[in-house]
């Protein structure tokens, strides 16, 4: 009991983002009672869902009884603030959200939308998961991923470096080295 009071003093936010897409399967998976209970058990206190063009409405909750506090919105011009305040990010596979989250050094679970026709974004998430920069899930395996997750095992994403590419372009165009 005491433990729980200490835990709820500090906000531990799970931020879910689907970008500009529609990804009801993910929002529905997040909204399940078992998953929310699991997040609570892991010490998370707040759940904020950016649901894009989705039509499935997750249940809001103030979290009075010590359960997870849940809120949602459709879009915002910048999710940078939400990402920054999050302790865990659950995102669609868009490269923009992925790199914005990794750059902030936040633990990330990417959930792939299997309803998309051209699902090349799966490739990027899988590759980054293989390199241990993020966790990779499908809507139906998300619960299991959260139960098994060990965020300590994730590796920070290295600083991007455009200079090798820029050097080749300069060389081709005959610019002198400096």
């Amino acid at each position: 009991m005491d433990d729980q009071i200490v835990e709820t003093k500090e906000q531990k936010l799970v931020f879910v983002t689907v970008g500009t897409t529609r990804f009801d399967a993910l929002v529905k998976a997040i909204d399940s009672q078992e998953l929310k209970k699991e997040l609570s058990r892991e010490g998370y206190t707040h759940l904020l869902i950016q649901m894009g063009r989705g039509s499935y409405m997750p249940t809001k909750s103030k979290g009075e009884d010590g359960s997870l506090s849940v809120d949602h919105f459709n879009f915002s011009s910048s999710i940078a603030e939400n990402l920054r305040s999050a302790a865990l990010v659950i995102s669609h596979a868009g490269s923009g959200s992925i790199f914005e989250t990794l750059r902030l050094g936040k633990p990330l679970i990417v959930v792939v939308n299997e309803d998309l026709m051209d699902n090349h974004q799966c490739e990027l998430a899988e590759e980054l998961a293989e390199r241990k920069h993020l966790l990779f899930a499908r809507p139906q395996t998300l619960h299991q991923t959260i139960m098994d997750m060990n965020l300590e095992s994730l590796l920070p994403y290295p600083e991007a470096d455009a200079t090798p590419c820029a050097k080749l372009i300069h060389k081709f165009l005959g610019f002198p080295d400096d």
Binding site: L124, E127, D161, A162, C165, L168, I169, K171, F172
Partner: protein
């Protein structure tokens, strides 16, 4: 009758010349420029939503801006964010150099042949409009350098640039950088520009793609 065969002969000669010239251009493409002057090169930068713009602006920040100017930024008319982001970059450069943005950069919107989700049937008309618009833009700009990384709008622009090379209107260097989101397979834009050998230099961000497409160069991650 005689004039008909004369016209036919003329036509065949023109086509043959065009094909020979096209092969010559393909052979010459991919060879580094040999330049004696240090004049800056006008540069077309193709932007696009879905991560393309962010990657392109990252690359741009590592490039010699004072040698690559003026810069013409092109984005789809429906994509307002990309040009805003490019403006932010240009404004910050301008603060450092003191040169007004209007002298070093221009921002151009282009019609897109097909919006995400639009059917292929209705897209024939819009495609023709988009190609015509791309032509008008390219005739006006005639850039020396083209940088693109995969949005669909780069295909007509690069094909027109290639035609300009064949016709002797403008020799340009076309750089294609495949998006970081492509790990195992090229995008349609990348595939076309690689196979048609339109891109002078073709860059990929994952080693497994380079192994599959040996003429590509692996440059590591831009994001």
């Amino acid at each position: 009758m005689a004039s008909f065969s004369f016209l036919l002969a003329l036509f065949i000669i023109a086509i043959t010349t065009f094909i020979i010239r096209a092969f010559y251009v393909i052979l010459q493409s991919g060879k580094p420029l040999e330049r004696t002057d240090a004049k800056p090169l006008s540069t077309l930068v193709v932007l696009g939503s879905g991560g393309h713009t962010a990657e392109m602006l990252n690359l741009l920040s590592a490039l010699h801006k004072e040698r690559l100017m003026p810069r013409f930024y092109v984005a789809a008319a429906t994509d307002s964010m990309s040009l805003i982001k490019a403006r932010v970059l240009e404004n910050s450069l301008n603060e450092k150099s003191g040169v007004p943005v209007g002298e070093t950069a221009r921002f151009i919107q282009i019609y897109r042949s097909r919006e995400v989700g639009q059917s292929y049937m209705t897209s024939t008309g819009t495609t023709l409009i988009a190609i015509a618009h791309a032509f008008l833009i390219m005739i006006g700009l005639r850039p020396h350098v083209i940088l693109c990384n995969g949005p669909g709008t780069c295909i007509p622009l690069c094909i027109i640039a290639f035609l300009f090379k064949v016709l002797g209107i403008r020799w340009s260097s076309i750089f294609y950088i495949e998006s970081i989101a492509r790990v195992k397979r090229l995008s349609l834009s990348g595939f076309l520009l690689y196979k048609l050998r339109i891109a002078d230099q073709f860059f990929v961000q994952w080693p497994q793609l380079q192994r599959k497409y040996p003429r590509a160069q692996y440059v590591g991650c831009l994001m």
